[in-house]
C-alpha cells in the first residue's frame, strides 16, 4: 500500500516538479539565533489564510444586498450550524491579524531589518498594513447593522475633508451621493475581491523578497550595514552559522501560529463575535455608532483633537504618516541596526505604543459622550437633606434640561463635563448664573432656553451642593 502511494507521489513529483520548488524553500539557510522574535510575520500570514478560509465559508451564507444583508447575518448568527462560531472566528481573526501586523512591523523596525538590501520588504509591508486596515474597516461595514451603516457615513465624512477631491472621494466610497443600495455592494466588492487581490499580489512579492534576501540576522552593536559589503558578508555568515529553515526555525512559526488559532477558536466559542446592533435604518436615530476596537483609537483622536485643526489633521495626518512610513528605508538604509545604537528610533517606538494604547483606552471609555441613558436624579441625592421646593424644582430641571447628560451629581450622570457634586463650594450663585446663561468651552449657552424661574431654581439647587 505504502509502495503504491509512493509510486503515485514519485510520478506527480516527476511531472510537476514539486520537490524542485519546495526543497529550496524548505532547506534555505536562516540565521540561527533570536528565532522566537521572528514568528510574527508567519503568524500574520496564517491569520490571513484563516480569514480567507472563514471568509469563503461566510460568503456561502451571506447576502450582500442592502435589503437582505442584516437578515442573512441573523441567519448566520442564530440559525446556521456553527454559523456563530464561524463569524466569531472571522472577527477574532481580523483582530489578531491587526495586532500581529503591528507586532511584526514593530519587530522589523526594532531590528532595522528595513535596511539594505531589504528596503522593498518594508515598502511592500507598508502596503500590506494599509490593505489590512482597509479590510478591517470594510469588514465591519459588511455586518450592515446600524453601527456598520453609520460607520460608513463617518468614513465618508472623513474622506470629505480632503481638499478639492473630498466630495468625490466620499461619493466613490459610498457608490452614490447617499448611503443606499450601491454602498453595500461596493463594500462587498472592495472587501472580497479588490483588496484581497492586491493582498495576494503583495504577499507573493513580500515572500519572494524574504526568500531572495534571506532572513535578516539579529543585529549586533558595532556591526553596521555597509551596502558595498553586506551581501558577501551575509553569504559568508550563512555558510558558517546557518541552519535549514525546516525544521530548525519553522517549528517555532508553526507552534506559535497554531496556538494563536486555538486561542481564536476558544475566544470564538466562549465569547462570540460582537452582537448585531439594530437593523440598518438611517431614520432610526437613537443609535451610538461605535467602530470595532481597532478603529476606536481614531474615534478618540477625533473627539480629543483641538477643533480648529481638525480638517487639516484628518487629511494631512494619514498622508504624512504613510509618507513617513514609506520613506524610512531611504532615510536610513545603512549604518547601525542594533536597537542599542538607535536610541531615537526606540524612543519613537515607545511613543507610538503609548499613544496607541492611551487612545485605545480613552476611546473605549469615551468620557466625552453625553450619557443619554442617565436616570432622573433622585431628590434623596441632593443636599441638603430636606430641600425646599425651589431646590427640588432644580433637581428635576437638572435632568429635564439635559444637564445630567454631561454632569455628575452624587454619582448620577455623565462625564463630558465636570462633576458638580460639590460645586457650591467652588462657585458663587452669581458665577453659577453666568456660567449657565453663557455656556463656554464645551457647554452650550442656556440663556435662550431657560426661563427666569428655571434659572433661579437651578442655581439654588446647585449652590446647595456642597
Amino acid at each position: 500500500m505504502k509502495r503504491f502511494f509512493g509510486r503515485i507521489w514519485h510520478w506527480l513529483d516527476d511531472r510537476i516538479g514539486i520537490n524542485d520548488i519546495l526543497k529550496p524553500l524548505v532547506d534555505h539557510p536562516v540565521p540561527p539565533r533570536g528565532l522566537w522574535t521572528y514568528v510574527f510575520g508567519s503568524a500574520t500570514l496564517f491569520m490571513f489564510v484563516l480569514q480567507v478560509v472563514t471568509g469563503v465559508a461566510l460568503s456561502l451564507l451571506y447576502q450582500p444586498s442592502s435589503s437582505t444583508a442584516y437578515h442573512s447575518l441573523e441567519f448566520i448568527t442564530y440559525q446556521a450550524k456553527f454559523g456563530n462560531v464561524l463569524r466569531s472566528v472571522h472577527f477574532y481573526g481580523a483582530s489578531a491579524m491587526i495586532i500581529l501586523v503591528g507586532l511584526h512591523m514593530t519587530r522589523t523596525y526594532i531590528t532595522a531589518s528595513y535596511k539594505f538590501p531589504r528596503e522593498m520588504n518594508w515598502i511592500s509591508g507598508v502596503f500590506l498594513l494599509l490593505f489590512t486596515i482597509f479590510m478591517g474597516f470594510t469588514g465591519q461595514l459588511l455586518r450592515w447593522d446600524s453601527n456598520g451603516v453609520w460607520s460608513s457615513v463617518v468614513a465618508a465624512q472623513q474622506l470629505g475633508r480632503v481638499p478639492f477631491f473630498g466630495k468625490y472621494l466620499a461619493r466613490l466610497l459610498l457608490g452614490g451621493d447617499t448611503i443606499g443600495s450601491a454602498s453595500l455592494t461596493r463594500f462587498y466588492s472592495y472587501h472580497v475581491f479588490i483588496i484581497p487581490t492586491f493582498i495576494f499580489l503583495f504577499i507573493a512579492l513580500h515572500l519572494w523578497l524574504v526568500f531572495r534576501h534571506g532572513i535578516s540576522e539579529l543585529p549586533k552593536a558595532g556591526r553596521p550595514v555597509d551596502p558595498k559589503k553586506y551581501r558577501k558578508w551575509y553569504e559568508d555568515y550563512l555558510k558558517k552559522y546557518a541552519v535549514p529553515f525546516w525544521p530548525h526555525a519553522a517549528w517555532r512559526d508553526v507552534l506559535f501560529s497554531s496556538i494563536i488559532v486555538i486561542l481564536i477558536i476558544l475566544f470564538a466559542w466562549f465569547k462570540g463575535a460582537p452582537d448585531l446592533t439594530t437593523p440598518p435604518d438611517l431614520t432610526y436615530i437613537h443609535t451610538s455608532p461605535n467602530p470595532d476596537w481597532y478603529m476606536v483609537l481614531f474615534f478618540a483622536l477625533f473627539a480629543l483633537m483641538p477643533h480648529r485643526i481638525e480638517s487639516a489633521a484628518m487629511t494631512i495626518g494619514p498622508v504624512l504618516t504613510v509618507i513617513i512610513l514609506f520613506v524610512i528605508p531611504f532615510l536610513a538604509n545603512k549604518g547601525e541596526r542594533s536597537p542599542m545604537r538607535r536610541p531615537w528610533a526606540m524612543f519613537g517606538v515607545i511613543c507610538v505604543f503609548v499613544f496607541v494604547l492611551s487612545l485605545l483606552v480613552l476611546g473605549l471609555q469615551h468620557p466625552w459622550s453625553a450619557e443619554f441613558d442617565a436616570k432622573p436624579l433622585p431628590v434623596a441625592v441632593a443636599h441638603p437633606a430636606n430641600p425646599d421646593s425651589s431646590v427640588v424644582a432644580g433637581v428635576h430641571l437638572f435632568y429635564s434640561r439635559g444637564c445630567e447628560y454631561c454632569h455628575k451629581i452624587g454619582g448620577y450622570g455623565g462625564t463630558a463635563g465636570p462633576d458638580l457634586s460639590l460645586v457650591g463650594n467652588r462657585l458663587s450663585e452669581q458665577e453659577l448664573t453666568i456660567r449657565i446663561v453663557n455656556g463656554g468651552g464645551n457647554m452650550p449657552a442656556y440663556g435662550g432656553i431657560l426661563t427666569q424661574a428655571d434659572l433661579q431654581a437651578l442655581v439654588n439647587f446647585l449652590h446647595a451642593q456642597r
Binding site: 466620499a170 455608532p289 463630558a416
Partner: protein, 176 residues
C-alpha cells in the same frame, strides 16, 4: 552560391533601424494595448460611475401641515432620490423638521456636521445632541458646543396643498 544563400538568409537592415521583428513587436503590443484600454472602459466606469451621475433633487412629502405643532421639532423620513428597489430600509433618510411659526418650516439633516453621526433632539433641553464626540446644536441649527465646525445642514422645505415637502439632497459632507 554560398554567398547568395547567405545574403538571402540575412534580414536586410533599413537605414532607420526598424526591422521586421521590431515592427511586428510594436504591432502586437499596440493591438494588445488597445484591446486592454477598450476593455478597461466599462470596468473603470463601474468603479467611478457614482462620481459622474448626478441625481436630480426631488420633492418628497413628509406629512400634513396640521401634524406639526407650532414651535415643535419632529423627526421625519423621506425616500432618497437615487434609491434602487433593492435598497430595502436604506431607501430612506431622516430629517428634523421644526415649525417655526404658522407659515415657516425649517428642516435639518440628522447628520452632525462634525463626522456625520445622527443627532438627537432633546425636547426639554431644546438642544440637538450628537452621541459620538459631544457636539451640541441649538434649536435653530447653530453650534452650541463641541467639535462641529458649522451649523446643521438644511433641507429645502415647502408646503403644497397642505402637505409639507422636503427636497432631497446628497448626504451632507463637511469639507475643509
Amino acid at each position: 552560391m554560398n554567398k547568395n544563400e547567405s545574403e538571402q538568409d540575412q534580414p536586410s537592415r533599413p537605414e532607420d533601424g526598424l526591422t521586421r521583428k521590431g515592427f511586428l513587436t510594436r504591432i502586437s503590443l499596440s493591438i494588445a494595448g488597445i484591446s486592454a484600454a477598450v476593455m478597461a472602459v466599462p470596468v473603470i466606469s463601474a468603479l467611478v460611475a457614482p462620481l459622474l451621475e448626478s441625481n436630480e433633487a426631488l420633492w418628497r412629502p413628509v406629512g400634513r401641515v396640521d401634524e406639526f405643532p407650532v414651535g415643535g421639532t419632529r423627526l421625519v423620513s423621506f425616500e432618497n432620490a437615487d434609491s434602487e428597489n433593492y435598497a430595502g430600509v436604506l431607501a430612506k433618510s431622516a430629517a428634523w423638521l421644526r415649525r417655526i411659526d404658522r407659515n415657516r418650516f425649517i428642516a435639518f439633516a440628522v447628520n452632525c456636521s462634525h463626522l456625520g453621526c445622527p443627532v438627537r433632539w432633546e425636547e426639554s433641553a431644546q438642544l440637538f445632541m450628537c452621541p459620538c464626540h459631544g457636539g451640541v446644536y441649538y434649536r435653530d441649527g447653530s453650534v452650541a458646543a463641541g467639535p462641529p465646525p458649522k451649523r446643521l445642514t438644511e433641507y429645502k422645505v415647502r408646503v403644497r396643498n397642505g402637505v409639507v415637502e422636503l427636497q432631497t439632497a446628497p448626504l451632507p459632507i463637511t469639507s475643509i
